[in-house]
Symmetry: C2
Subunit: 523 residues, 2 copies
């Protein structure tokens, strides 16, 4: 009946009481749970204990137990009729600064029942972490921000459950992961020290909480767990991703790059793990987040250069009329423009090669990708030199951070990496070929690249399926060496070289060389 032998749903049998043995129902339940979970402690909630005698006897001392592992011990969530047929539900959350994704799971089979994504409603307060944390310091601001996200999760989880003919009160466990700021705002924890030197989170290791304490309208005894943070710039989302990618079990060094609002990078294997987050330092301000718009119908997600005609071809999501361009489209576009010689190695438009496609406004050149008559918005879709400069900075930052952590810190060459995992919603759509071509990602064997998808959500869901892995998550957390990105002169020198297309040192990108022969022969 149950496939999750190590899961959160267990069938237990409690020793029946006999005369001459004073052991209470509480103790006999604890013994049964300890035996089943092979644990030295199991916490049993007051609300389950209160009515234990009548339930145990009605069920002939057998029960279906919903359990969860937490930092200090196992914890019983609820005890149910062993014959009840409706399955136990759980939800995994990815609490992103921009997007929130909710996944509904059957905790008995481990199967995904549904998934939904929504914009983080805190965006109405501020688009980025900084603005929201500032707001959280105002009177009532923290409660307001928490309320926004909790209410959105409640509403969307409710809809997700109803779509499956279920109710959100049947959800017993929520596991979520977010960056450090989103974790704080979700939990309603004071967040302002995160952005003030010396950048100290209120909480790095949140306890498992009763969901009702956060206002989450799931089962009254339901629990919620958020992945721990490592520091202000290294959140639970990344830890969840490392767990999801099994990075801590690899024999050879691998790298995982989570390109979300920030670029976060982990490199390592079973013997060591190093991490670095790219939100530090003014050179990287805004990071990857300013590259393009959010994916949606009509958004240009692929751009290619026809080598015969030298013309650009575009692809839009759902093949709708183009309305804008997203990050992966911009990287493709930059690569295509560079390949076609429309931009030079400094990332500047080359007016001679852009015949008829450039327009100037207020002294700023823009490349017209889609004419107004072909656009879904009635306005031209273009890439300005300002957009391009921003992309150049971002790609240079990405490459420099990779170089700093892989070469300068771990002492490896990019070729030593067995796998190059790309995680995060944004990262999932990047074409490695384009990213390498502009010098954003290193020029390694393409077969090493692997898209992980939403690894933060994946790790959260996995912990609901394999609660025994909890200790592994804590071990990963303990074992990671966090590298503060030191934006010193050396970094700025490396960054300067990376601001060229693909790089001042073209020898680093041997596979790009061929594509450059025609339009950029001198390097």
């Amino acid at each position: 009946m149950t496939e999750t032998k190590n899961g959160v749903v267990r069938y237990i049998e409690v020793e029946k009481p006999v005369l001459g043995n004073n052991t209470g129902d509480d103790q006999r339940l604890e013994q049964a749970l300890k035996r089943e979970l092979n644990a030295s402690r199991v916490k049993i909630p007051y609300t389950v204990l209160r009515h234990l005698p009548s339930r145990l006897r009605a069920w002939d001392f057998r029960a279906k137990a919903v359990v969860f592992k937490e930092r200090r011990s196992w914890r019983l969530v609820d005890l149910l009729d062993p014959e009840s047929s409706s399955s136990i539900l759980g939800a995994a959350l990815d609490i992103g600064t921009t997007r929130i994704v909710i996944q509904l799971l059957d905790l008995e089979t481990g199967q995904e029942l549904g998934r939904t994504g929504l914009d983080n409603p805190q965006a109405s307060i501020g688009p980025d972490v900084l603005a929201r944390i500032h707001h959280s310091g105002r009177e009532g601001g923290l409660d307001q921000l928490q309320d926004l996200v909790i209410r959105a999760v409640n509403e969307n989880l409710d809809r997700l459950c109803r779509e499956q003919g279920r109710k959100k009160e049947e959800v017993f466990l929520i596991a979520g992961a977010g960056n450090t700021a989103m974790t704080h705002l979700f939990l309603g924890m004071e967040a302002f020290e995160i952005i003030k030197e010396p950048y100290i989170p209120c909480v790095n290791i949140p306890d498992t909480l009763r969901a009702e304490r956060l206002g989450l309208g799931i089962h009254p005894r339901g629990l919620v767990f958020l992945f721990p943070n490592i520091g202000s710039y290294f959140g639970g989302d990344l830890l969840s991703g490392i767990f999801f990618a099994d990075l801590d079990k690899k024999e050879s060094p691998c790298i995982m790059v989570d390109v979300g609002t920030n670029a976060e990078i982990v490199v390592g294997c079973r013997d060591w793990l190093m991490a670095c987050a790219g939100a530090a330092g003014p050179a990287l301000e805004g990071g990857m987040s300013k590259m393009g718009m959010t994916a949606g119908p009509g958004v240009i997600d692929r751009v290619a250069l026809d080598p015969e005609t030298g013309m650009l071809t575009i692809h839009t999501i759902e093949d709708k009329k183009p309305v804008g361009i997203c990050g992966s489209g911009m990287i493709d576009l930059a690569a295509a423009l560079f390949a076609g010689g429309m931009i030079d190695i400094r990332g500047k438009f080359h007016p001679d090669k852009c015949t008829g496609r450039l327009e100037e406004r207020d002294g700023i050149l823009s490349y017209i990708l889609v004419d107004p008559e072909n656009s879904g918005t009635g306005r031209a879709i273009s890439l300005s030199q300002v957009d391009l400069n921003s992309l150049t900075s971002s790609k240079a930052a990405m490459y420099t951070i990779l170089e700093v952590i892989v070469r300068n810190t771990a002492g490896l060459e990019f070729e030593d990496l067995e796998k190059f995992y790309v995680a995060g919603t944004f990262g999932s759509f990047i074409d490695p070929e384009s990213a390498i071509f502009i010098g954003m990602l290193p020029d390694i064997d393409r077969s090493g690249f692997e898209v992980l998808g939403n690894s933060s959500l994946g790790g959260a869901a996995r912990l609901l399926r394999e609660p025994t892995a909890f200790d592994r998550v804590m071990e990963i957390r303990e074992s990671i060496t966090y590298i503060e990105l030191n934006v010193n002169q050396e970094f700025m020198n490396m960054f300067s070289g990376a601001k060229f297309f693909p790089h001042t040192d073209r020898a680093r990108f041997p596979s790009v060389e061929k594509g450059l022969l025609k339009n950029h022969p001198t390097g």
Copy 2:
């Protein structure tokens, strides 16, 4: 400033954050508490964590911490301004079937600030445990019973605090002890299995709970702890008493008799502890509880026989006109009547010796102790043969249980006992001389007797002063051998002998012998 170095109030200093160390405020607080408490784990509540950053910084990383030890770990109750001058309050509870006693404590100095007693309002549902547990099984009955006791504690604690110019919201910790049934009803735990074979409590080891979960209106973060039970007939009140009497530290065997609603007995020393509760078996039904009325103004608490005149003299509480007689008065009265020959060795009135004091109604003889004209109620205060029979049964039960546990079970003689502790409200007022004279207590050296007072309350208060003793309480619980009183033929034979005054075997009461020469020469 603080005298309670091992107490629940501690002054801590949290390591200040520095750049390059990602340790969260949560972790640095945990480290400071672990260091202060010399503990491997300290649980920090969500509500304290939420606002930790601003508080730690406002207090320059110092704080006054209210802590409590529980089964699994230490627990932080709250964190306060280290400069705040108002002291932390706590309350100890003795939750008796008949009476509830509340003691208010200053947790920083350990001093008692006040104390109040009240009748257990559950008496309106039923006078005894049995009636209340039956009621708890009815729809809404459990909640009703819990509500009665919680409300009474709230009201009385509120008054007690106000008398000290304080508020009950300044109380951070409550430690209570009661018998197993009272513990269940206080916690709102299903209790009906306690009185049904095989007599299994719902909970033997209650967790420390947030007080608001029980509706206790103390500090919002306040905690409540009840002493664990050992079985249905061996409650936390007795465990608290053992702890209070330090029975587990004695070099030579001692005995503790808690004469409350039931007679509960513990014998032992640092090497072993045995316990037995006297509510088992039909011979003992009602136990000590039917002996007399509750103490109060005008109640006769002492009776003596003038050896010259052969007349009885009485003493009433507060020297008011007599309105009735309490347990200790009845034991004195029985001893006096027996000494004066008014009752024989079978416990029957001797009409020849009671000239003018006996009256008969419906065939039942009664001894008139106070004439209507001298009584505060306008009615005679008398002792009927039915009352006397009940007292005879009770005193015989008491002696037999003592004999079973000391002689038959522990294999000791009464003379081997270094101390004979008498605990419980009722027990505190018994005159050992009278109790020995009627054969209720064994005939040992009077200097061995020691009145403990309300040891259940005393143990609860002590745990608030010395939370480090928590583990000792759990060890006592683990080490006690609980003796089910086996009411077999042998017991009934022993009981029969003990129903005589003082006993069929008069050699057991050598010191009583002299007083018997005149009126009971043959024995």
